[in-house]
């Protein structure tokens, strides 16, 4: 379970998060939507422990992430995988070495065992043919899939996705969405997804929360969000120019 309690965060006197409280249940897929630069990724980074809130607390399975020491943060992060927007692959390692990196660095198995696990994940994301390619030689979508393979290689119980479908073609987006859904149904993974892609959000979410001006203004099931009467939510999900959101 992930819980953000009354989280406030400012950068250079600019308020990004203003009293954000979220409770994400185990096995839930929670999607955060909102305009660019509104603070969606900042929420993910609080959950991952990269940022500490100015006020408020972040709990991972009832353990406080904010203010934790390096050792405790590392221990809490072992339960998590993070799919970064760009994939964040280490550029001098090929796809296979990137996916194997956490297993090799933590010596989680023999070489043959690690190879077996890596092949399994690469096959799951249809990357086996590109296993020996360098990050510079693969497309953005492949980088994202390789990043996802690396995020799930240690079978985390929580996966944080930062714009998992941005820049991907519709078929690849559908594949990533399918992966996220399967991670939940087959492995019971808790997912927190930050996205602009409403098609993706409706497909994968158990609940969707809309972040606006640093606060969660609406949170509910995809059906509730679809039927929302809030003019801000309506403008965002319909992608219209006229409305209360400054464009």
């Amino acid at each position: 379970m992930i819980e953000l309690v009354n989280v406030h965060k400012s950068f250079n006197d600019k308020k990004i998060l203003d009293s954000v409280s979220i409770r994400i249940e185990k096995g839930e897929t929670f999607v955060i939507i909102g305009q660019s630069g509104v603070g969606k990724t900042t929420i993910l980074r609080h959950i991952a422990g990269f940022f500490d809130p100015d006020h408020g607390d972040v709990f991972i399975d009832s353990e406080r992430m904010n203010g934790a020491g390096t050792g405790k943060k590392a221990r809490l992060r072992e339960r998590m995988g993070f799919l970064f927007q760009s994939g964040a692959l280490i550029n001098w390692l090929n796809v296979r070495e990137n996916v194997a990196l956490p297993l090799v660095e933590h010596k989680l198995g023999s070489i043959s065992e690690i190879n077996r696990i890596v092949d399994e994940k690469l096959e799951l994301l249809q990357l086996l043919d590109s296993a020996d390619k360098m990050p510079a030689d693969i497309s953005g979508g492949m980088k994202k899939r390789a990043g996802l393979a690396r995020a799930i290689v240690r079978n985390p119980s929580i996966i944080l996705y930062d714009e998992p479908t941005s820049g991907l073609d519709p078929v690849m987006s559908a594949r990533i969405n399918d992966m996220i859904t399967r991670m939940k149904s087959e492995l019971g993974v808790t997912s927190v997804v930050v996205t602009h892609d409403m098609v993706s959000a409706y497909n994968i979410a158990d609940r969707i929360a809309m972040l606006y001006n640093g606060s969660i203004i609406e949170c509910g099931t995809p059906e509730q969000i679809r039927g929302s009467s809030s003019p801000i939510v309506r403008q965002f999900i319909e992608g219209s120019l006229g409305g209360p959101i400054d464009v």
Partner: protein, 272 residues
């Protein structure tokens, strides 16, 4: 009007003081960050065997690849230096002292200094740019997310490689500097090779050699730590990486000169 002018003058003065204070605080913070980085990297050297492949790769990148530049600079440096002092000493009939001066200067100062300057420009800049690019493209965050210590994974291998290659390159620079000077002594000062190298061997002092090695080790730590620290603190995309690279080169060069002075002063200034 005079009142308004005074208020505006006072505000601008206060803003300048505040900016200076912020800059000073940043520098103190960055110095602390770099010192902690050095300490952590040295602690992480206990994992050096596990990271041997990366260390060897870094030795190649920061050491072997800069051998040609080091060689050219050392050879020409030795030639220029011996020509300048040789022509001066020849007018007094003292050109026999050129080999002694060459080996003394190369061993005591120029060997480590030239190598330090070349490695700062060649490897330090590359390190800052590489680590900075990793920082802005979220690769450092990805490492932390995998519970991989970036100091152990990135900084320690670079520092260890630099500490291994810098003394070796310094010896190489000294040797090539001496060879460059030999060419000038033979062709322009009319000194025989046998007499040149005999004087060189007679003038090598053990103290000069270990001070030279100490300097090269200190320079290695300075270059690798400042470059990695600037890379790890890089921000704002390509602009941030460029800034980190520039600052790392300038800071490394300054610190090399400052530490070089203090080591020389410590060993030759009557302290030790």
């Amino acid at each position: 009007m005079p009142g308004n002018f005074r208020i505006s003058y006072r505000r601008s003065f206060m803003n300048s003081v505040s900016a200076l204070g912020s800059r000073l605080l940043y520098q103190v913070n960055f110095t602390g960050f770099t010192l902690i980085l050095i300490f952590n990297a040295i602690i992480q050297m206990r994992h050096a065997f596990f990271k041997r492949r990366e260390i060897i790769k870094q030795m190649y990148v920061s050491g072997v690849k800069s051998m040609v530049v080091c060689g050219i600079v050392a050879l020409l440096g030795g030639m220029i230096f011996s020509l300048q002092i040789g022509l001066q000493l020849k007018t007094y009939g003292q050109s026999d002292f050129v080999p002694t001066m060459i080996i003394n200067v190369m061993n005591k100062e120029l060997g480590a200094l030239l190598t330090g300057i070349i490695l700062t420009a060649f490897s330090g800049a590359a390190m800052a740019a590489e680590v900075g690019t990793m920082k802005v493209s979220e690769e450092i965050d990805a490492l932390e997310m995998m519970s991989i210590n970036p100091v152990r994974y990135l900084v320690m291998p670079r520092m260890a490689a630099m500490m291994l290659m810098m003394p070796a390159l310094t010896i190489y620079t000294v040797i090539l500097g001496v060879l460059g000077a030999a060419v000038i002594c033979y062709f322009q000062l009319g000194m025989s090779m046998e007499s040149y190298f005999r004087r060189i061997v007679e003038s090598i002092w053990f103290k000069d050699m270990y001070v030279c090695m100490l300097k090269s080790l200190v320079f290695a730590v300075i270059i690798s730590s400042i470059s990695c620290a600037n890379g790890l603190k890089a921000g704002n995309g390509a602009l941030g990486v460029g800034h980190a690279t520039r600052v790392s080169v300038v800071s490394s060069l300054l610190m090399i000169l400052v530490s070089g002075y203090f080591i020389t002063s410590l060993f030759y200034g009557g302290f030790l």
